[in-house]
């Protein structure tokens, strides 16, 4: 009897063990290893020694604060654009979608069936200086001959907005869809105008979805380097590009680790402060749908 009780108490631990172990060994431990690497000194030829050289953080920040700030700014603009573009779409599908809700949602998710790199590459192709869009505009004389979009900030931000938009639509849609229609009727019965109903009923109740969407958009957008690499130029380099270059071109592992750590600390602190307001389960559950 007591043996089976013990077995029952051990069951959840046995179930979580493999997944938990995998996450600890390949996610938690590496994070601490990265912290350790970031304070080492040396070079790739003679090897790196642990010297607790925290100055690398100061040097890294001094050298690359432009890219850091640019990444945060691009991330914020992208998030804002996604929010402005996605909210009406989510609203329309949730309240006017009728029987076609799932089909419309499916259309929003279509980009996910094409590789992220190919989608971005496809935009490079559409927007390139002699590409279909610009050569047409130039032929019609709508823009000057030397006009270009690639290698500018709008190209990178546009690419980011494009790539992360579905992450904003989905959680907002889920939030709106759960909203009880009776609440809207009640608002109308109480002579609430459409604007007032939206502002006082719909908008507050959709906030958890908006929060989740902001989270799911901002973090990957600020830390992305694919869009900046394919659509950007020398003046749109983001911190992700810097980290990638430090690892693979300069082979300066301590600096690359320090920069990664600053990025993670900045983003995770923001995220946890943000999630505290909501509770992590809510954010994750909305994110999972």
């Amino acid at each position: 009897m007591s043996r089976s009780r013990l077995g029952a108490r051990l069951t959840p631990y046995l179930l979580v063990l493999p997944g938990w172990l995998w996450l600890v060994v390949f996610f938690v431990v590496p994070t601490f290893v990265m912290l350790s690497v970031s304070t080492q000194t040396g070079d790739i030829v003679s090897g790196f020694q642990q010297t607790f050289h925290w100055r690398t953080y100061v040097d890294g920040w001094n050298q690359y604060h432009t890219q850091f700030i640019r990444s945060i700014v691009y991330g914020l603009i992208t998030t804002l654009l996604c929010l402005v573009i996605a909210y009406p779409v989510a609203y329309w599908i949730a309240f006017r979608g009728g029987a076609h809700k799932s089909s419309l949602l499916f259309l929003i998710l279509l980009p996910f069936f094409v590789s992220f790199v190919i989608r971005t590459q496809s935009w490079n192709f559409i927007l390139s200086d002699n590409g279909m869009l610009l050569s047409a505009l130039k032929n019609w004389g709508l823009v000057s001959q030397d006009f270009h979009i690639l290698a500018t900030a709008p190209a990178v931000i546009g690419g980011l907005t494009y790539n992360f938009l579905p992450f904003m639509v989905l959680p907002i849609y889920v939030g709106l869809e759960r909203l009880d229609p009776a609440l809207l009727e009640a608002a109308a019965d109480l002579y609430g105008s459409k604007t007032a109903t939206f502002r006082k009923v719909v908008l507050p109740l959709s906030m958890p979805g908006v929060f989740a969407g902001v989270l799911l958009t901002f973090v990957p957008a600020a830390a992305d380097y694919v869009n900046a690499a394919i659509l950007g130029g020398a003046r749109t380099t983001m911190i992700g590009n810097v980290i990638q270059t430090e690892y693979f071109t300069n082979l300066d592992y301590p600096k690359a680790s320090a920069l990664s750590f600053i990025l993670m600390a900045a983003l995770l602190l923001g995220v946890f402060a943000y999630a505290r307001v909501l509770g992590t389960e809510d954010v994750l559950d909305v994110a999972a749908r």
């Binding site: 997944g19 390949f26 069936f113 192709f125 109308a188 694919v226 995770l268």
Partner: protein, 280 residues
């Protein structure tokens, strides 16, 4: 409801256009906006599909030069690209199996049992999902560099399983939360052992969640660029190959492969929808 509003109330508000009535004049604005967004989302996909049929001669597949099915016939004529696609597909299968098993077990435990430490596991998964990809990739690379593990096929598998487990777990946990515990109790009362209960009752009930998690993992795996590129060494996957080619010009075969993966994904998703409908 507006029929209940007295005409007087309606008149009082004519100065405010949004209260003018049940049918505002700009009703088309919302659908128009939404369809524009959908068109925008679809445009690079359409371009990808169309230019897979382009009868291009040079290295650059930029200008439309006529229709051809040549690239579908010559799909596997670039050995590196074929190898990259093969790597992507086999890695996706291995990662999906591993991550789905571990993620499902995690999700079942978190959704069914209350146990000490479950909060910290939730937090761990949340951090894993919320952490930026560059950092996940860089951290794992730091580990492999420090321990001296050569990067390649299996480090890609390790990396992709690491970022997929939490997604599966969250999906399954949500499904478990909606499951009536009395079903399992009934099975036990009828003499089913823990394994029979799990495989005959619990697993079939959470199957839609498990399948959704598996599909998501498969999609994430085939698509992943950032984390994979950090831990790939000399092994090349499909997105890695395309990224490398983007500087010199992407051959039409990439468009064709992208199109085929797209079609397969859409098909699988539709099958999933039909399957779920049937169940309900």
């Amino acid at each position: 409801m507006s029929t209940l509003i007295s005409p007087q109330a309606g008149r009082q508000t004519t100065s405010r256009p949004d209260r003018a009535g049940r049918r505002p004049r700009r009703r088309w604005l919302l659908p128009l906006w939404s369809w524009l967004v959908i068109a925008w989302l679809a445009s690079p996909i359409i371009v990808m599909i169309v230019f897979g049929f382009n009868d291009t001669t040079g290295k650059f597949n930029i200008r439309w030069q006529g229709f051809t099915l040549r690239w579908y016939r010559d799909l596997f004529t670039i050995p590196d690209l074929t190898q990259a696609l093969e790597n992507s597909l086999t890695i996706a299968v291995i990662v999906t199996v591993l991550a789905t098993i571990m993620g499902t077990l995690l999700g079942v435990a978190l959704g069914r049992y209350r146990f000490r430490g479950s909060g910290s596991i939730n937090l761990l998964m949340f951090a894993n999902i919320a952490a930026p990809e560059v950092v996940l990739g860089a951290a794992l690379l730091s580990l492999f560099l420090t321990v001296g593990v050569p990067r390649g096929y299996w480090t890609i598998v390790i990396a992709q399983v690491m970022f997929s487990i939490a997604y599966v777990a969250v999906t399954v946990r949500a499904r478990m939360a909606g499951l009536d515990p009395s079903l399992e109790e009934a099975a036990r009362d009828l003499g089913a052992g823990p394994y029979a209960t799990f495989f005959r009752v619990t697993l079939p009930s959470i199957m839609p969640g498990v399948l959704a998690g598996a599909l998501l993992t498969c999609a994430l795996s085939i698509d992943d660029f950032i984390i994979t590129s950090f831990n790939a060494g000399n092994t090349v996957t499909f997105p890695l190959w395309v990224y490398g080619a983007s500087r010199t010009g992407v051959p039409p075969q990439v468009n064709v492969m992208g199109t085929l993966i797209f079609m397969l994904g859409v098909l699988l998703a539709l099958v999933g929808v039909v399957y779920n409908r049937r169940k309900v």
